[in-house]
């Protein structure tokens, strides 16, 4: 998407962790931009720093140095409440391990972001229903996560990520706990939704074939550094 405006801008972002007397640099001076409506895959092996970079872009973590700008706002300068608001209103997240709350039914899980965003109760039912229908789980709304298959749980997590109509969807290894068929189905669904809603998607994966199949662009990380950044055709 060469003509689309930049939506997310990482500028020399580093993230260090102190482990005893050793300083571990998980992300090392990464500069990266993501255009609006783009599907970016952050590819890399385990420990390459891709999930750490995603966490910082999603506002779950802060860089040790550098800046991450989303719509020209530096996330590093936001206080805890502003960062929570950013996660609530701008961001949707999907995780490898689904992270649905086991005590809640599927529809209650999907309703959770609406509760946090203080959306009116009258609007919630229709929005939850719409999100679940979009991922094909309308009939399973009253089931608990333990009563759903892995693919269904991830689709449920996707519905929860979409229900607040976020501008950016961050997906951290969304196929990591799924078989190849279910994994492909999830990414297909993700791609469909992205096209329909015009969202920006940033996905972390270590599976190159899936990244090549579904992403517009692949950024390769190794040892915390960005080693390549190429547009897919």
């Amino acid at each position: 998407m060469p003509n689309a405006p930049t939506f997310i801008q990482a500028e020399s972002v580093s993230r260090e962790y102190q482990l005893g007397e050793t300083v571990i640099r998980a992300v090392d001076g990464v500069s990266l931009s993501v255009a609006k409506g783009e599907f970016l895959a952050l590819l890399g092996s385990s420990g390459s720093g891709k999930s750490t970079l995603l966490s910082m872009m999603a506002g779950l973590d802060r860089p040790t140095s550098g800046a991450i700008r989303v719509r020209d706002r530096n996330l590093a300068e936001l206080d805890a409440d502003e960062l929570a608001r950013y996660r609530r209103e701008t961001v949707g997240m999907v995780f490898q391990s689904f992270n649905l709350l086991p005590r809640m039914t599927l529809e209650e899980n999907v309703e959770l972001p609406l509760r946090l965003a203080e959306v009116d109760r009258q609007d919630r039912g229709s929005r939850v229903g719409e999100a679940l229908e979009r991922v094909g789980l309308g009939p399973r709304r009253r089931h608990r996560p333990s009563e759903l298959s892995g693919g269904e749980q991830q689709r449920g997590a996707l519905a929860r990520a979409l229900v607040n109509r976020p501008a950016i969807l961050f997906a951290d290894e969304p196929t990591g706990n799924l078989d190849s068929v279910n994994g492909e189905q999830i990414l297909l669904l993700l791609r469909e939704i992205q096209n329909a809603l015009g969202m920006t998607v940033v996905m972390v994966t270590h599976e190159r074939p899936l990244a090549e199949k579904f992403a517009n662009r692949i950024a390769l990380l190794s040892d915390g550094k960005l080693v390549s950044d190429g547009v897919q055709h």
Binding site: A58, L60, D61, R87, V91, N99, L112, L116, E118
Partner: protein, 454 residues
């Protein structure tokens, strides 16, 4: 997050870990129950003591004597404190004046005399007391066999159990039977009688008129036998063995020591009283009425100071009971801290998810706070109920024990509304304070670390 959503989430979390949360809530309930039971015991005993003392007629009454002939139990006032007032006689006019004072419910003389009682051919000497009609509701004759007097002027008698046993081996069989009082009646002599004038001349007295003592008999129907001896003391109902209505006693005109005073005062037809009991609405009215009567030139005595000391003793007693009860609640609050800290470990991932979905630190803190508060609220309610059960069990056990000792049962535990509400509020506050640390710790969790937690 809105309060309603927060409450729903907290309620769901509490429901899901129902066993652990129930046990924690039970811990709070036991703590509150011990606090409530202890304090209810203190309040109950205080209420019981106050009721008994009030029923005795000692604490809502002012005892009035004439300064002329009876100084009363109090030391005399300093001579220079007030100008000396003219000493007055306690007669019927004064009695009427007292009864018109504010907050005065009743004014009556104490008519108590020793006389002969005849029953079934036997003659016994005993002390007799006239009872005001107010003693019907005072509770002083609670547990009495038979009934109270049918009217204030009834020719009826109530016997004290010991005296009834003297009259019959089966005291209760006396109810409905009649006995005869033999007493000395005081009668005024006419002033204009010739022999009266002669008598006056002979005695060299300036006093007109005089009194005569005439033996009389009165038949009374026995209506009740009281097992307890009502409290004695000045103005109390105790000490007598046969009771009759005060008005009936007055109509007998039994010769009393104060008749001599009336004779000396020059108006034997108009009786003067040795002492009057002025009963007031409540003990707090005693001081004001006492002051008004003193102002009228009479000597007074009340036992109000004794109730003040009693209140002080019970306040200290309640304080100690409350401290012991609070210890149990402190242990319970440690249980809440433990439960919530464990919940943080168990729900670490959940906290991470909530934060990833946009929950603020305040949302997470409030959620844990709400759960602690709810445990406090339910613990408080159950605790008050449990405390009430414990108190009732203590009352029940005590009553059984007292009945075995042939004594009337008493309510030793009492939970006033302020204790119930205060205990619930205290439980909530203690729970919230206990939830402070876990809630702050949960709110501080880093979402990335929390999401990584397995």
């Amino acid at each position: 997050m809105k309060t309603r959503d927060l409450s729903e989430l907290a309620a769901r979390n509490l429901r899901e870990a129902v066993l652990r949360n129930s046990l924690t809530t039970l811990g709070v309930a036991v703590g509150v129950a011990s606090l409530v039971a202890m304090l209810s015991l203190g309040v109950g005993l205080q209420t019981l003591a106050s009721q008994r003392l009030t029923r005795s007629g000692l604490f809502d009454a002012v005892f009035v004597t004439s300064q002329r002939n009876f100084r009363g139990p109090r030391p005399p006032a300093p001579t220079d404190s007030a100008p000396k007032k003219e000493s007055r006689i306690l007669d019927e006019d004064v009695r009427q004046q007292f009864s018109k004072l504010p907050n005065v419910t009743e004014v009556y003389p104490q008519i108590r005399f020793v006389t002969d009682v005849r029953f079934a051919g036997k003659s016994e000497t005993t002390s007799v007391l006239g009872l005001p009609d107010s003693s019907r509701t005072s509770g002083a004759f609670e547990g009495m066999k038979g009934a109270f007097f049918s009217s204030p002027t009834a020719e009826e008698a109530i016997l004290q159990i010991d005296f009834a046993k003297v009259l019959s081996d089966q005291p209760q069989s006396l109810i409905g039977k009649e006995l005869t009082l033999r007493y000395a009646e005081r009668a005024a002599l006419p002033k204009d009688a010739d022999d009266e004038a002669l008598l006056d001349a002979a005695m060299g007295s300036a006093a007109p008129g005089g009194i005569s003592i005439v033996p009389r008999e009165k038949t009374l129907r026995i209506v009740g036998v009281t097992e307890s001896d009502p409290s004695a003391g000045i103005g109390g109902f105790g000490g007598a063995r046969l009771y009759l209505p005060l008005k009936t006693a007055e109509q007998l005109h039994v010769a009393q020591p104060d008749d001599l005073q009336a004779f000396v005062s020059g108006n034997p037809a108009k009786p003067a009283y040795m002492a009057l009991t002025v009963r007031v609405h409540s003990p707090k009215d005693v001081l004001q009425v006492e002051a008004a009567i003193k102002q009228m030139g009479f000597a007074t005595f009340s036992l109000l100071d004794a109730t003040k000391s009693l209140r002080l003793v019970f306040t200290v007693f309640d304080l100690f009971l409350g401290l012991f009860g609070s210890l149990a609640l402190t242990v319970a609050s440690l249980g809440i801290i433990n439960t919530l800290v464990m919940a943080i470990l168990e729900r670490r991932r959940e906290i991470g998810i909530l934060k990833a979905l946009g929950a603020t630190d305040r949302d997470v803190r409030s959620l844990f706070f709400a759960e602690a508060g709810a445990m406090g609220l339910f613990g408080g309610f159950f605790g008050v109920a449990l405390g009430w059960l414990i108190g009732s069990a203590l009352t029940w056990g005590t009553t059984i024990y007292l009945h075995r000792q042939n004594l009337p049962g008493v309510k030793i535990s009492y939970i006033p509304w302020w204790l119930a509400l205060g205990a619930i509020a205290f439980a909530i506050i203690v729970s919230l304070v206990a939830g402070l640390y876990p809630a702050a710790r949960a709110a501080r969790l880093n979402p990335v670390d929390a999401l990584r937690y397995e």
